[in-house]
């Protein structure tokens, strides 16, 4: 075996990944250029708002509610063992608002919408609909990507808020079922949660919505021929969106914590 072969393979892989990143950057640049220079028509945006927003609600509601309930079930026993059952609300609701609500809403959107966007655009590519659009002197990014991007970007804060709301409600119902005093539960929650926490969750969700739309549309545009190519594009769109959400979450959390400390100093629920 040629000893240089693995090195050559690694080099090819790195070159391919770098080229892919460059193409993604150009794709993103074209999306933002249209966003800044051309008003998206309501006719194009409306069906995407319905598909991405309204039709995602059931899955978001179920996810949010059960996450809140499971979290309450887990937290209550730990807190109750030290006689602080009523304080579990602060941890449950902080977790839902700051992390679980936005991240899970993002992941559910990546699964339900991201895969569908990649499959839809991939099918349009392999059936030459994207070429047909270009052949008529129209930019497929303007007509196909920008409305989908806007719908994801604009609606994810609302979906996250919805997820937060049902998560908090689900957590409360379980705590109430365990006999926690509702007044104490909400009082401790209100003491622990600041407007900043609500803002932090919503703020990061906007980035999640943007990357889901960009990655999924890009994967659809890059779909290979045939049913296998489209299926692969849908899978890649979900996996890449999922990983990007988790990585992005870390950096946004670090940024927001740094910003908070700079503005108001360090604060903890235990202080």
């Amino acid at each position: 075996m040629n000893p240089a072969k693995p090195i050559m393979a690694l080099g090819r892989h790195v070159a391919d990944q770098t080229r892919g990143l460059g193409e993604f950057a150009v794709f993103t640049g074209r999306v933002f250029r249209w966003l800044l220079t051309d008003a998206t028509r309501w006719r194009l945006l409306r069906p995407q708002l319905y598909e991405i927003g309204v039709r995602s609600l059931p899955v978001i509601v179920i996810t949010g509610a059960f996450v809140g309930m499971v979290l309450a079930a887990q937290a209550y026993y730990q807190f109750e063992s030290v006689g602080l059952g009523a304080r579990s609300g602060s941890v449950i609701n902080l977790s839902v608002l700051k992390e679980l609500g936005p991240v899970l809403a993002g992941i559910m959107l990546a699964g339900r919408v991201g895969g569908a966007l990649a499959a839809e655009l991939g099918t349009m590519k392999v059936t030459e609909q994207i070429d047909a659009m270009r052949a008529m002197g129209a930019d497929p990014i303007k007509h196909l990507v920008v409305p989908r991007f806007l719908a994801c970007f604009l609606l994810i804060p609302f979906l996250t808020t919805y997820c937060d709301f049902v998560g908090i409600l689900g957590g409360y119902l379980v705590a109430w079922g365990y006999g926690v005093d509702p007044n104490e539960y909400w009082r401790h929650s209100a003491n622990a949660i600041e407007n900043w926490d609500i803002f932090a969750g919503i703020f990061k969700s906007v980035f999640f919505g943007a990357v889901i739309a960009l990655i999924s549309c890009y994967k659809g545009f890059r779909s290979r021929q045939g049913a296998e190519g489209v299926g692969r594009a849908a899978t890649e769109a979900f996996v890449a969106s999922f990983m990007t959400i988790l990585i992005l979450d870390l950096f946004i959390v670090l940024f927001l914590q740094g910003l908070y400390e700079a503005l108001w100093g360090r604060v903890s629920i235990f202080i």
């Binding site: 069906p47 349009m124 059936t127 030459e128 047909a132 659009m133 052949a135 008529m136 002197g137 129209a138």
Partner: protein, 277 residues
């Protein structure tokens, strides 16, 4: 039936002002010069030089995979050649950006192999697409143009249907209506009769001829359907392994001495010599 509106500027009469005096060769509208194109390890074109003339219907023949559809996409700038130059009306478009190509593409109409209708739009919205994008006409006028185009291809009354509700032949007709909506100078047809029954295929051929007659366009048709080629073509060009092996009138091609041409036009791979006469 003829249309009243034009929305892509004045067009020269075919074979009229554009033809040189004294019956000389008509003016070139598209020229491919020394084109090389490769996909991975597969070389589609090595050194293809081919011109298309204003007002003519040129049929490009060749086996599947010979690069006929690639050639159409090169003409529209949907694909870039690895080497060689592409000229439209004397202008070199090879290195133009997507943005620079957009106005040029409105001078072309293309009928795709599978029609490529936008499946999220109705028939009306498909045909109106380019008009809404470029023509800046009032909606009422767009409605009237779309109605005329659909009537021209025998698809009147289907405005509100979705592509999934149409048969293969109907899709091709709507695809043709969409291609001619902007009054293009050149119409490119990618396998217009593929997958259609003989009667429907003949209807499509009749529509191609009608477009040529009524709209006075230049047509480039790629096909491997010889019946269609003889019916619609003024000039037939045959590609084989990335090169032109025959170029002439339908009658010249019918009597062409090259055995590869004869095998193709007779659909008989076992032919060893050109049939007499």
């Amino acid at each position: 039936m003829s249309r009243t509106q034009t929305h892509n500027g004045p067009r020269a009469a075919p074979g009229g002002a554009e033809r040189a005096p004294g019956g000389a060769a008509p003016k070139q509208i598209v020229r491919l010069q020394g084109i090389g194109k490769r996909f991975g390890g597969h070389e589609v074109f090595r050194d293809l030089t081919l011109a298309f003339f204003r007002g003519q219907t040129t049929v490009v023949l060749g086996q599947s995979g010979v690069g006929k559809s690639v050639m159409l996409k090169l003409i529209l700038g949907l694909l870039k050649p690895d080497r060689g130059r592409i000229h439209i009306d004397g202008t070199d478009i090879t290195d133009l950006s997507e943005r620079e190509l957009a106005p040029l593409r409105t001078r072309f109409g293309m009928v795709f192999q599978g029609a490529a209708l936008f499946d999220y739009l109705t028939v009306f919205e498909n045909v109106a697409f380019a008009l809404r994008e470029h023509a800046r006409l009032p909606e009422k006028q767009i409605r009237e143009i779309v109605r005329q185009e659909l009537a021209l291809v025998g698809m009147g009354g289907t405005e509100d249907l979705l592509p999934e509700e149409l048969s293969g032949g109907m899709k091709k007709r709507v695809g043709l209506a969409r291609a001619i909506a902007m009054d293009p100078e050149v119409i490119l047809y990618d396998e217009p009769t593929m997958g259609l029954d003989p009667v429907t295929a003949d209807t499509i051929n009749a529509l191609i001829l009608m477009c040529q007659r009524e709209l006075q366009t230049t047509s480039i048709v790629v096909t491997h359907d010889m019946a269609s080629a003889y019916r619609v073509g003024d000039r037939l060009v045959m590609l084989h392994e990335g090169e032109i092996i025959a170029d002439g009138t339908p009658e010249e091609i019918r009597r062409h001495p090259d055995i590869r041409v004869q095998r193709f036009i007779h659909g008989d791979a076992s032919l060893t010599a050109a049939p007499p006469g």
